[in-house]
C-alpha cells in the first residue's frame, strides 16, 4: 500500500495520502481482496445484537469467560488455517483433540506421570498422527479429506480404547487445571500489554527505517500509524476489560502466543512463504526447488499437534476427559472459525489471525445464545448460517478476483 512513489516525506498533504490509502483499500475490496474486514464487521454486529438482547453479554465477566471458552477451538483452528493455506483439509482434528487429551489424562491420572510430561506426550501424539496423515497424503496421493476422514474414525476408536472401560477420567491435578483456570493479576496484564505495544511500535519503526535505508519508497506513514493505533487500542481495551473481572486468563495468553508465533512463522520465514507458495501453485513451487511434500507433511504434523494441544486445553476447562471429548461440534467449529475468519478454502490466502477472529464469532454465538437460554437447535442453525455466509463471502471474493483479472 505504498501511496504513490512518495517524494520523500515532505509535508505531503496528509489528506491526499489518506485519500490514496482509502482508494487502495477500496480497490482491494472491490477486486475481492476483502481480508478480515467481513469478520470484524460481523463480530461488531453479533456483539451489538446480543448485548441488546441481554446487557450482560458485554460485561467484563462474560467477555472474560468468552476468551476462556474459545481457547481450545482457537488453538485447533490455528492448525486448520495452516492446512487451508495449503489448499487441503484436516477432518481428523476432533478425534485427535479427543485422543490427545485422553493420552494426557491416562498418563497423568492413571499412570502417575509428571504433569508436564503427560501434557507433552498428549501433544506429541497429535504430532505423530499428523505426520502419519501427511505421509499417506503425499506418498500415495490420497486426497487429504479421505486420509483425514479415515483418521477421524481411527483416532476416535483409539480414544475409546485408551480411556478403557471407565470411560471418564476426572482431572484433579492442579497444574492441569491451571491451563484454563489461572488468571493473572491485572497489573501483569497491563505490563504485558505495554510490552507488546512497544514491540509492535518498534517493529513498525524498524521496518520503515530499513526500507529507507535500502532506498525503497516508504509505505504510507498514515496507514502504518493508523494500523498501529488500532491494534494498540484493541490491546489496551481488551486489557482494561479483563482487568474489570478476574484479570488476564492464562488460556487467552496461550492462544495468543500460538497465534503470534504462527503469524511470524507464516509471514516472515521461508517455511511460511513456502506454505503459501504450495497453496497458491504447487507446480510452481516444485519448479522453484521447494520440497512440496516436506512442506505438506510438516503442515499436517502441525495441524495434528495443534489439535491435541487444543484437546488438552479443553480438558483443562472441563476438568475431565471422556468418550465424548472432541466429538460433536469441535471439528466443525474449528474449520468454521478458520473460514469465518477469512482464510480461503481454495488455498494460498489467509492469516493465522482468522483463528482468533473466527473463534470469537463462533464463541460469541454460543455464549450469547446460552445467555438467552436458547437450546442447541438454535445454536446449530445460527452457526450454520454464519458459516454459509462466510463461505459465500470467500467464493464471491474469489469471483471478484477473477473478474478483476486477479
Amino acid at each position: 500500500m505504498s501511496s504513490a512513489p512518495a517524494p520523500a516525506q515532505t509535508p505531503a498533504p496528509a489528506a491526499q495520502e489518506v485519500r490514496a490509502g482509502l482508494g487502495t483499500l477500496w480497490r482491494r475490496i472491490t477486486s475481492g481482496d476483502v481480508g478480515s474486514l467481513p469478520v470484524i464487521l460481523g463480530l461488531v454486529l453479533i456483539w451489538g445484537v446480543f448485548d441488546y438482547l441481554n446487557p450482560n453479554f458485554l460485561s467484563p465477566r462474560n467477555l472474560t469467560n468468552l476468551t476462556v471458552q474459545i481457547a481450545d477451538i482457537g488453538i485447533v483452528s490455528v492448525g486448520i488455517v495452516l492446512v487451508l493455506l495449503l489448499g487441503e483439509i484436516d477432518l481428523s482434528v476432533g478425534s485427535v483433540y479427543g485422543l490427545g487429551s485422553a493420552v494426557m489424562a491416562v498418563l497423568s491420572v492413571q499412570k502417575g506421570w509428571p504433569t508436564p510430561v503427560a501434557i507433552l506426550a498428549g501433544v506429541l501424539t497429535g504430532t505423530a498422527i499428523g505426520t502419519f496423515h501427511g505421509f499417506f497424503f503425499t506418498r500415495f496421493r490420497i486426497p487429504s479429506f479421505v486420509v483425514t476422514l479415515a483418521g477421524l474414525l481411527t483416532w476416535f476408536g483409539a480414544q475409546l480404547h485408551v480411556l478403557g472401560e471407565t470411560g471418564t477420567i476426572n482431572l484433579t491435578d492442579p497444574s492441569i487445571d491451571q491451563l484454563a483456570g489461572k488468571f493473572f493479576d491485572p497489573t501483569v496484564g497491563w505490563i504485558l500489554a505495554v510490552v507488546v505495544v512497544a514491540i509492535l511500535g518498534t517493529d513498525v519503526f524498524i521496518r520503515r527505517r530499513r526500507r529507507a535505508g535500502a532506498g525503497l519508497p516508504p509505505t504510507g506513514l498514515i496507514g502504518d500509524v493508523a494500523k498501529f493505533v488500532v491494534v494498540a487500542v484493541v490491546i489496551f481495551g481488551a486489557t482494561a476489560i479483563l482487568a474489570g473481572d478476574r484479570g488476564v486468563p492464562l488460556a487467552l495468553l496461550i492462544l495468543l502466543g500460538f497465534i503470534i508465533g504462527f503469524d511470524i512463522i507464516t509471514t516472515r520465514t521461508r517455511f511460511g512463504r513456502h506454505i503459501f507458495a504450495v497453496g497458491g501453485n504447487a507446480e510452481a513451487a516444485r519448479r522453484a526447488g521447494i520440497s512440496v511434500n516436506s512442506i505438506r507433511i510438516a503442515v499436517f504434523a502441525l495441524s495434528g499437534t495443534m489439535a491435541a494441544a487444543g484437546g488438552i486445553m479443553g480438558a483443562s476447562r472441563l476438568l475431565a476427559v471422556n468418550y465424548s471429548s472432541g466429538t460433536g461440534d469441535i471439528l466443525l467449529n474449528a474449520i468454521a472459525a478458520a473460514v469465518i475468519g477469512g482464510t480461503s478454502l481454495f488455498g494460498g490466502r489467509g492469516t493465522v489471525w482468522s483463528a482468533l477472529t473466527g473463534s470469537l464469532v463462533i464463541g460469541s454465538i454460543n455464549n450469547g445464545l446460552a445467555l438467552l437460554s436458547a437450546a442447541s437447535d438454535v445454536k446449530f442453525m445460527v452457526t450454520g448460517g454464519v458459516l454459509l455466509a462466510a463461505v459465500t463471502i470467500d467464493a464471491v471474493a474469489r469471483q471478484g478476483r477473477q473478474r478483476a483479472g486477479v
Binding site: 535500502a214 525503497l216 520465514t269 512463504r273 507458495a277 501453485n281 507446480e283 519448479r287 522453484a288
Partner: protein
C-alpha cells in the same frame, strides 16, 4: 566450428559470432520414446548475446530438444558442451547449476504471492540471528533487476495475479536473470498475448541479448521470430533440417523448411 557428422545439411552454421565459442552446444543428440525417434543426431548451438529461434511443426522435436537442454530428458546419445567444456547433465539441477534457465509456457508463478516473493521463490534471503525473511534486501534487488530489464510493474509488492499476461511473462523471465542465467530457454513466450504485450516481451528478449545472455525461443509465430532472432533453426521429424540467418532469409524459405517443402518451390537456402 565443431560440427560433427550427421547434420543433414552438412553446412557449417554461419553464426554472427562464428569466430567465438558457443555458450551452449549440443552434439549429435538422439532421444527415443518407445517406437518414436523424437530426436535423431541433432546438433545445436547458441552463442553469447544471441537469440536463436527454434521452429518446426508440432511433433518436430522442439520441446524434446529444449527439455534435453533443461536436463528434464536425458538423451540416449550425444554430448552437451557448455562454455567449451563437455558437461554431464543428469537432471534439471545440473542444468540450472550451469546457468541454463527455462521459462515455461505456463509460467510457474504463484498468483497469490507478490512479485518480489515470486522472483525469490525457493531462494528467499534470511537474516541472522533470527531466520526471518529479509524483505527489504529482496525488494531492493528485485526492483534493480526489473529496472535493468525495463520491465514496468506499478508496485512489486502487488500479487502476481494482478498483472497482465505480458507482465507475468516478464516476471518469469526476470527471475532467470535474477539468478545469473547465461542461457534462457523460452517456450512460446508470446502465445496468448495481445499485440502490445507481445511487443513488451519481444523487447525483453532483446534486452536479455544485450546483457550477453544466449536466448533460445520456441515459437510458432514467424513474424515474432523474424523480429528478434539472429538465427532460426528449423526442426522436422526429430532432425535439424535448416539454419537461417535472419538478415538473409525470408519467411517463405523458413515455412518451406518447416513443412518439408511440400509446396515444391521452397527449399532451405544454403
Amino acid at each position: 566450428m565443431t560440427e560433427t557428422g550427421g547434420r543433414p545439411e552438412g553446412r557449417p552454421p554461419t553464426a554472427p559470432a562464428s569466430s567465438r565459442q558457443p555458450l551452449l552446444e549440443l552434439r549429435g543428440i538422439s532421444k527415443r520414446f518407445g517406437a518414436v525417434q523424437a530426436l535423431s543426431e541433432v546438433d545445436f548451438e547458441v552463442y553469447p548475446a544471441e537469440v536463436v529461434a527454434l521452429v518446426g511443426d508440432n511433433g518436430a522435436g522442439k520441446s524434446t530438444l529444449i527439455k534435453t537442454m533443461a536436463g528434464i530428458y536425458i538423451p540416449d546419445s550425444g554430448e552437451i558442451w557448455f562454455e567449451g567444456k563437455h558437461v554431464p547433465v543428469h537432471g534439471p539441477r545440473d542444468s540450472a547449476a550451469l546457468g541454463i534457465a527455462t521459462v515455461y509456457q505456463d509460467l510457474a508463478l504463484s498468483d497469490n504471492l507478490d512479485v518480489v516473493a515470486n522472483l525469490y521463490l525457493g531462494r528467499e534471503e534470511v537474516s541472522a540471528p533470527l531466520p526471518l525473511i529479509s524483505e527489504e534486501k529482496m525488494e531492493f534487488r528485485a526492483r534493480e533487476v526489473l529496472k535493468s530489464l525495463d520491465v514496468k510493474i506499478p508496485n512489486p509488492r502487488n500479487p502476481v495475479a494482478a498483472l497482465s499476461g505480458g507482465q507475468r511473462q516478464s516476471v518469469a523471465v526476470a527471475r532467470s536473470v535474477m539468478w545469473k542465467a547465461k542461457v534462457v530457454l523460452l517456450d512460446e513466450p508470446t502465445a496468448a498475448l495481445g499485440v502490445q504485450q507481445t511487443k513488451q516481451v519481444l523487447e525483453l528478449v532483446l534486452r536479455l541479448k544485450q546483457q550477453g545472455i544466449g536466448v533460445i525461443v520456441i515459437s510458432h509465430n514467424l513474424a515474432n521470430v523474424f523480429e528478434v532472432a539472429d538465427r532460426i533453426i528449423v526442426m522436422r521429424l526429430g532432425k535439424r533440417v535448416g539454419t537461417f540467418i535472419r538478415a538473409e532469409s525470408s519467411e517463405e524459405a523458413v515455412v518451406g523448411a518447416i513443412t518439408g517443402a511440400e509446396f515444391g518451390k521452397f527449399k532451405p537456402q544454403a
